[in-house]
Subunit: 577 residues, 2 copies
């Protein structure tokens, strides 16, 4: 192996030129085998724009079927609206509208309007007309978007299938002039082509995006409706209105008027940084000493820790970081890994919290038992993350409760359409609802680390049936949320979470914690049901017993009545509840 | 909906500027809510380089674990070598070497050397040090690589985990000067930084790439060894040598000296082109009339078809394509879809063929029955593809055959390690081996359209057991290959095939065809086994029968012997095999 110490600068040569006709060719051999030569092949080598790549591979972005395309577009637009509102500390008010284009059942316009901070004129074309462009990728803080792909990809799909541009309205503030944009994507260059004009817009501030696209509108499972319902569960501070193509309007009201905690951007944590990243950070650093570099470019490194790392690495703390050779950087990396450093600050993520998880579940799922666990944030590969689990168990219709007088009664089922939609039947697998940074994950359930963790939990311990290698059975909704500065998704369409060991372990612990609480409820329910059954028997047999007693002891009606009351009291007392 | 007819040029405005301090700001409102404003948010918007994106999301490229990383890197390098050799019509001779770096069990150097056409000096840095760069993305012809990501991603992963550059040696021809390169990737710009020098290299032509990387070397399932073995099955024209870190050398010899058929580049087929693509093709066309555009920029459009399309679309054949308004292009698209057009030329793909599939299987899997089906190519979304299926059934050790004399005998098991590795046990699920453009697909089996099709086939019809929703059970290897100008993978790591309906249907038909042939073999085998059992009974009982006959009819030993022979002959004759 050669690490070519001290020759870093050698690699800083100019960018290689493209082959062109004038380049002197050392070889002009025409091989007799007839095929291509290195030269003929070189002429076809060229750059592939990221838009071209994703146009051809649009299933990677969630645009593989007309039905999924419509939902994916709504999701990307709503994600952006919520991120912007929260960043600007505005309680979000979002309107999602799907309309048919003409009488078509195949073409739709999807529009998402928000009351967010708007977008400045110069940025609108880039945000909506350029892939891999945005503010969230390079920042270590929790947000729904993270790639700078989503909404531009939706626009690209619309343009591909209908030829129409993305239409945007934006007003950044009360005194700003509202503008309307039409944006096309030049896929060969991955750049927007945009026009704009001043409009009237009765709104203090906000953004609206409209995309015409091929699509398919359906209700039920994996529908836009369901997605928005789940969005409301995990975002109880959001007011959402949904207008479907048939003119039906659904509204999701706020369960709280408090915005999620404001998240702060953090610097990378030294643990989890890889050698290649460290080499790059050192080259890019503005600091003049290794000690300053360690303290300023990382989180949780103070003078003492910096000194300790430098000592272990045998690197002088006041040496110039950019002059370090690769072996010295390797020693630094080894020293960092061997040094105890405080966990990263957790202000960069905003979990939902146990109370709001339960409030969100209660709003959309009717059950007779709710429990939630919000785990303390931990770290994978230097990225803080937190796992939260909520459980809603039991249909109210199936429920026995003990009244204040100690009586066990059946509670009548309340009619609630939401509850029916989210809660499965008693003999079916539980309903698993997955969230990442407060966004519902609708597709690819079986490929997701969350599903693996739920299946891997032994639910028999908590009184539920569970077939081998499958979700447990029962009238139950399991809510699982991962909040992180960087969620590792299994594809660009952000539908499932990659199975990192640290994430699986936290999922396991959170599920077990909720499971234990559920277990004691389920056991209590079973005991109540048993008692209820027993009492029913007693209540059936007491009258017969009294008839017999009356006959044997020659009791009159009054005495018989007294005996019945006494027997009932004795039986009630003898039971322990 | 607004399609803004005739205003195409409006969108050709200059690229939007980045926000900078000098831009006059219409709004200077500081909202009292305290959060971010559109302006403060705009300052953080910026481009994300594709290298940065994939560094953070490297699991998308198959570099999510050290073990998988090493295999993925080998795969990408071997794919490139084979593509280059075949394009240059050279019988490939490839050497794969994995060595430990020092005594490390965590760091390895992987080297792949070929006898291909080499790469010209100016292209080497781009090919190995730049993501989304290559010659295969824009061409409609079958090749292993298609994205221009793979080998640069392997280099990026190596750089990230060891800090070392990619090392390349290249010699484009006998008279060329061999060069050695060291290449780093500037991830922030997605551009290579490269140095090179003249070297000695005893070779007529070829390329060698070496990457130092974090990895884990193991044998067995999903190992480099297994991958190369499968590669040899689907590429019987390749000579492969593998040197493992312990110094063991495996060799895979050619089963044929013929290269696969040379594939030709084709133009897009009109069916399958989407409106957005058609709009772009029309704008980019060099042709002056719509008729010429249709005939020259598409395959299978002659003067008659072009005329028919124009008539249906109510577009004049000699009008200037670049002056067409969007509604006219929409009419063209509708007319194209309504016109019968010959299927695309199939010279762009090179299936393996039934004989070579069986030869490849025989080379690496020992079985007693082989069958293969190579379906005629068809088209999905304008892309030609062909499905091929091969089956190897039955362990020789378990096998009954009828000898020439009509005797059924058990064939002794031959010892063959390869056979053991690929063939499963009789009571286990069949072994499914998947290939796309002759490359083995090792990971994500359950997410793959091929797996879905095999599970969806009713193997009970062909005499095999099959649990519900699972692979059939039996001593069998199922080989499935898709050859296409564009294989739709479910992720950039190219591990599984997306479930397009057209592909699933062709898979189904090919599997059924092989299944039927297998079925008659399995039934024949079962019949033979039944006969064998019967005959065993007969052979057991004949001596007893003879003893009884001898006793009853008072036969002497000679007569008894004759009776036994006659009985045996009668029994043999009475059986129909």
């Amino acid at each position: 192996m050669s690490t070519d110490t001290g020759q870093q600068n050698l690699f800083k040569t100019a960018e290689p030129k493209m082959v062109d006709a004038k380049e002197p060719k050392a070889v002009k051999e025409k091989p007799d085998r007839g095929g291509e030569t290195a030269e003929s092949m070189a002429k076809r080598q060229r750059e592939i724009s990221v838009s071209e790549f994703f146009t051809k591979n649009r299933h990677l972005l969630g645009f593989d079927s007309p039905r999924k395309a419509l939902l994916t577009a709504v999701k990307e637009a709503v994600d952006n609206s919520l991120d912007a509102c929260e960043e600007a500390r505005i309680l979000p008010d979002i309107v999602v509208t799907i309309t048919r284009i003409g009488t078509s059942e195949k073409q739709f316009t999807m529009t998402v309007e928000d009351n967010g901070p708007g977008i400045v004129k110069a940025q609108v074309p880039n945000v909506f007309g350029r892939l891999l462009y945005g503010s969230k990728f390079h920042r270590l803080r929790q947000s729904r978007g993270q790639q700078g792909i989503g909404i531009s990809a939706a626009g690209m799909y619309g343009q591909l299938t209908t030829g129409a541009p993305v239409r945007v309205r934006s007003k950044p503030g009360k005194k700003s002039v509202p503008l309307a944009f039409e944006i096309r994507i030049d896929t060969a260059r991955n750049r927007p082509e945009s026009t704009d004009k001043v409009i009237e817009w009765e709104k203090d501030h906000g953004t609206e995006v409209s995309i015409d696209m091929e699509g398919e509108y359906r209700r039920g499972q994996k529908s836009i409706e369901e997605f928005l319902k789940l969005m409301a569960v995990a975002n109880p501070h959001v007011h959402l209105t949904f207008k479907d193509p048939d003119g039906n309007i659904s509204e999701y009201h706020r369960a709280t008027n408090e915005l999620p905690k404001e998240v702060e951007e953090i610097k990378p944590h030294p643990h989890g940084v890889e050698l290649g990243i460290l080499l790059k950070m050192i080259q890019d650093s503005e600091h003049r000493t290794v000690s300053a570099f360690l303290q300023q470019d990382f989180s949780r490194v103070g003078p003492t820790v910096a000194k300790e790392i430098c000592e272990k690495a045998d690197v002088k703390p006041d040496s110039n970081p950019r002059r370090l050779e690769t072996p010295a950087v390797q020693r630094l990396k080894t020293a960092i890994d061997a040094t105890k450093i405080m966990a990263p600050p957790l202000s960069c993520i905003a979990p939902i919290g146990e109370d709001l998880i339960i409030a969100g579940l209660k709003k959309e799922v009717e059950a007779d038992f709710y429990v939630a666990t919000s785990r303390k944030p931990v770290v994978y590969r230097g990225h803080p993350f937190a796992i939260e689990v909520g459980i809603a168990y039991g249909k109210p219709g199936d429920t026995l409760v003990m009244t204040e007088a100690g009586k066990i009664v059946e509670v009548a089922a309340k009619k609630n359409e939401n509850a029916e939609a989210l809660m499965g039947a008693a003999d079916e697998p539980v309903r698993l609802i997955r969230f990442a940074n407060r966004v519902p994950l609708v597709f690819q359930q079986s490929a997701c680390a969350i599903t693996k963790a739920v299946i891997g939990t032994n639910w028999k311990n908590y009184g539920l049936q569970q077939p081998r290698g499958a979700l447990p059975i029962g009238p139950m909704v399991v809510f699982v949320h991962i909040a992180s500065v960087w969620v590792p998704f299994t594809s660009e369409s952000k539908e499932a979470i990659a199975s990192y060991d640290e994430i699986l372990e936290e999922l396991r612990l959170a599920l077990m914690d909720c499971g234990r609480k559920l277990g004691s409820h389920v056991r209590k329910g079973k005991k109540l049901a048993g008692e209820f059954k027993k009492r029913n028997y007693i209540e059936i047999y007491i009258p017969h017993l009294i008839v017999a007693l009356k006959d044997i002891l020659k009791l009159d009606d009054k005495e018989a009545g007294k005996a019945r009351d006494n027997l009932t009291i004795v039986l009630e007392k003898s039971r322990k509840l």
